[in-house]
Subunit: 300 residues, 2 copies
């Protein structure tokens, strides 16, 4: 029987992930479901949470700290953005009323930036976690994903950040565009990726033409699917690196994520002479939620 | 009762369009159906054509000249690409065997380019038509669309061309990405379009960040849908203009199409000091099919 000190929750658009946290940041248990915020009405969040963490609940009350899209306007309760520059989880957490008296739920606010207009939800917690795992880190934290983020961090604060639609573009183009005909199967061509990154860095404006050329290369020259997929990824990540140059040039860079996507970013950065420190994304999320929970205990 | 001299056919992925052609290029009748190449097996093309043009057929045989995706590998019969530089419809048409003895069907081959790899199908006919309507035109012909084309034309030949995924990106992003939340309704903000074109021209590498910023502007500043849609279009068309600069800079430019999309391209080019000659796309298609038919009569 698991009785956590508190419960850490990462609640995104498509998934709900929870950890039963023990003394000193230990993880007693974890659970996951497909009850992402995207498929829930506000009235359904509490039931979705109870369905997942119910087995961990005893007669005592328990704190729940959640991050991610659960705090968006379409989520459970809106947690208003904090404006940068600020600490990644510096603002007060947003309390969520629950019917079940055993739950004390709080949501971590996202961050916003006025000019250029930008927002994040969930990544601020991972950034807080990265700083908690690597105290004193000053530089740039990269969070690859559907909407990749580059955050400039100094003296424990997020100074500025920028989001890129790179991951969503990759998904739409490989699954729904004319390029899908060239992408079948698995496999990865690291050489094609590196070449495409370099092409985009040197002529980023040619992106839309180079994208169509993947299809033409498939039709005329039988470009293999593994090369087509790596080329698409390389063109998009190369364009992101070109735009994010002021972020990474001459700066210490930390890369969040241990999966294939983060590997691709690491390879692309390495080709530019940048050795990124790698931080595991799940560990950063939990460390950030723990930092927010510690802060919540201090202030209540 | 309509008895055409010959039948002109524009057979794309989603639509089938036919014109009953009379003496001297007159149009006696026209017909359209949703029997695009994308929904047909090779064995179904003849029936789809007969369903549309059957009322025009008498006891005599009739020539049918078709252009577009009907000639692709997944079409009725593959019409192999001609390699540029070449006349837009210079190659022999590809004959299509039919069961109905009244039909003599020929397909116009598309064009291919080896380096950079590129292909077109259908646009070569519109380019031939543009040259037929404006004999001696030397310069650049722009064909906005799902896969926009820029073709350099000289002495009656297509010298080189480049395709851009611009239209398909616009469709995917406005209908299927996170930006769809910011795009509802109709309307067009010409000022937002012009500003976005200029932004993309001056910093084309920032595209993926500027795309996400449309969403952030919607969340933080209530960017109106008409401005969001115009901004998305302007960012993508601006990036295309940036990449196609060697095509349009200091060159006579002809723009095919009289619809809103061509208007947007004309406005974007005008802001760069380029006055594009406008050519109606349907007229160009019919003129190109007529040029191909005339050639077919000469050579048979």
């Amino acid at each position: 029987m698991i009785r956590p000190d508190w419960i850490a929750v990462d609640w995104g658009t498509t998934h709900l992930r929870a950890w039963a946290m023990g003394p000193g940041g230990t993880v007693l248990d974890e659970a996951m479901s497909d009850d992402g915020m995207g498929g829930l009405q506000p009235s359904q969040f509490e039931a979705a949470l109870l369905a997942l963490v119910g087995p961990w609940l005893g007669p005592q009350g328990v704190d729940v700290v959640a991050c991610g899209m659960v705090g968006s306007r379409q989520g459970w309760v809106e947690a208003r953005y904090a404006a940068v520059p600020c600490a990644p989880v510096g603002e007060a957490l947003t309390p969520v009323p629950t019917r079940d008296p055993r739950l004390t739920v709080r949501i971590i606010p996202g961050l916003k930036q006025d000019r250029p207009a930008d927002v994040m939800r969930g990544e601020e917690t991972q950034i807080a976690g990265a700083l908690s795992l690597h105290p004193g880190f000053d530089g740039v934290i990269v969070l690859p994903g559907t909407h990749s983020k580059w955050a400039q961090v100094s003296a424990g604060e997020v100074v500025s950040f920028r989001s890129f639609l790179t991951g969503e573009l990759f998904g739409l183009l490989s699954d729904h565009s004319v390029l899908r005909h060239s992408m079948g199967g698995d496999g990865w061509d690291a050489g094609a990726f590196a070449e495409a990154v370099q092409e985009s860095l040197s002529r980023p404006e040619a992106l839309a033409a180079r994208l169509f050329a993947i299809r033409a290369e498939g039709l005329l020259n039988g470009l293999p699917p593994a090369a087509a997929r790596a080329r698409l990824s390389g063109l998009l990540i190369g364009a992101e690196l070109a735009a994010a140059k002021p972020y990474w040039l001459g700066m210490p860079v930390a890369l969040l994520g241990a999966d294939g996507l983060a590997d691709a970013y690491a390879a692309a950065l390495a080709a530019q002479g940048v050795t990124a420190m790698r931080i595991e994304a799940g560990a950063a999320t939990r460390a950030g939620l723990a930092a927010a929970h510690a802060r919540m205990k201090e202030t209540t």
